[in-house]
């Protein structure tokens, strides 16, 4: 169990099992404030109307895919600098480049380990703190 944190996460994935896995892992890392959405269309208004500190999103989802969600987030004045981790099964090099160009701060491919998720979240948070 990690240090308790008040950071608020939005986890976007169309599979409830994956959302549950991520939520459990985040709980184990000490993050208890987690909200779920099942695709970009649902997530975007939640992001715009809520106070989230971190976005974890899948790519391949019905409705609005994760890449489009990232582009919307980066284009939004208030959400523009939000840390975004893409957690996806999409594994083509050109896609990773595309995701980076869209503005993701990290990219984890499925299947992933708890250690990888922890490492990437901490790395993103550390770089955000350093940049602030």
């Amino acid at each position: 169990m990690g240090v308790q944190s008040n950071l608020s996460f939005l986890v976007v994935d169309d599979f409830s099992t994956m959302r549950r896995i991520i939520k459990n892992l985040l709980n184990d890392l000490g993050y208890a404030n987690i909200t779920e959405a099942d695709d970009g269309t649902t997530a975007l208004p939640m992001l715009k109307n809520g106070k989230f500190d971190f976005l974890i999103t899948d790519w391949n989802m019905p409705g609005m895919p994760g890449l489009d969600l990232v582009k919307h987030v980066r284009a939004d004045a208030r959400l523009g600098k939000m840390p975004v981790l893409m957690l996806t099964a999409e594994a083509k090099r050109e896609q990773i480049v595309e995701a980076v160009q869209a503005g993701v701060n990290g990219y984890v491919i499925k299947p992933f380990t708890a250690a990888t998720l922890k490492e990437k979240i901490e790395k993103i948070l550390a770089s955000q703190t350093a940049a602030a």
């Binding site: 599979f15 391949n60 099964a89 090099r93 050109e94 984890v108």
Partner: protein
């Protein structure tokens, strides 16, 4: 068919020969011309019969390929879709069932760890075994009950993996169908489609590729290490 026979120049030629033989009263030439006329007639009829047979075979092949495709499109593909939807439900149920059991077990382990840590702390603070005997008894009772529950949960986790047998059988069936579909579509392309089917194949475009399947998704990273190396090159 008779019109086409009379148009044939060979018939005209043999008729001319017959006419000449009759005019000349040449019986031998008349016999030869009649035999020639009959030969051409037989050859023409044979050719026409062959053509009709070939057209019939083509139509039968076409009908056979179409009938198979119609059966696949109307019955077996929707059936496969339902089966795959069932796979989705089975895997979803099994994953949630497993996570239920994990979430039920984790607090038991956390509680036992917490109680053990508390006893260790008491010992480190100088408490003797006799002094903490009641806590020790309570702890051992707790561990026994918790581990029993965890063991039972683990047995259920094991049983929940039984979905793989069922989904595996369904997926194999769908694989067989896609193989038959591929073969039927290839037959159809051979009969009526583009010369090499390239147009049909190249028409497909995907926005996403899904999980990297070895030998299917090209240019995929080998794992998280490759992703990290690529991100590092890109300055992320």
């Amino acid at each position: 068919m008779s019109g086409r026979l009379l148009d044939n120049s060979e018939f005209v030629s043999w008729l001319g020969a017959m006419s000449r033989a009759l005019a000349e009263g040449n019986e031998e030439a008349l016999g030869t011309a009649l035999a020639g006329f009959e030969g051409v007639r037989n050859a023409t009829v044979t050719m026409q019969v062959r053509r009709v047979a070939s057209d019939l075979q083509f139509a039968l092949d076409d009908f056979h390929a179409n009938a198979k495709l119609v059966d696949m499109a109307q019955r077996r593909v929707p059936d496969a879709r339902h089966r795959l939807a069932h796979v989705l439900r089975l895997t979803d149920d099994a994953a949630h069932r497993t996570m239920d059991l994990v979430e039920r077990s984790a607090p038991l382990a956390d509680h036992a760890t917490h109680e053990a840590d508390r006893l260790i702390q008491l010992q480190q603070q100088g408490s003797t075994a006799q002094q903490i005997a009641p806590q020790l008894t309570a702890f051992v009772t707790l561990v026994s009950a918790s581990m029993g529950a965890v063991r039972s949960n683990l047995a259920e986790v094991l049983i929940a993996q039984g979905y793989q047998d069922l989904t595996g059988q369904i997926i194999r069936g769908v694989m067989k169908l896609t193989q038959e579909l591929e073969s039927s579509l290839a037959d159809l392309l051979r009969i009526a489609g583009p010369a090499n089917g390239e147009e049909a194949i190249n028409a497909t475009a995907y926005g996403t590729h899904g999980p990297a399947v070895p030998g299917v998704v090209e240019d995929a990273v080998g794992g998280q290490q490759d992703v990290d190396a690529l991100l590092s090159q890109l300055g992320v």
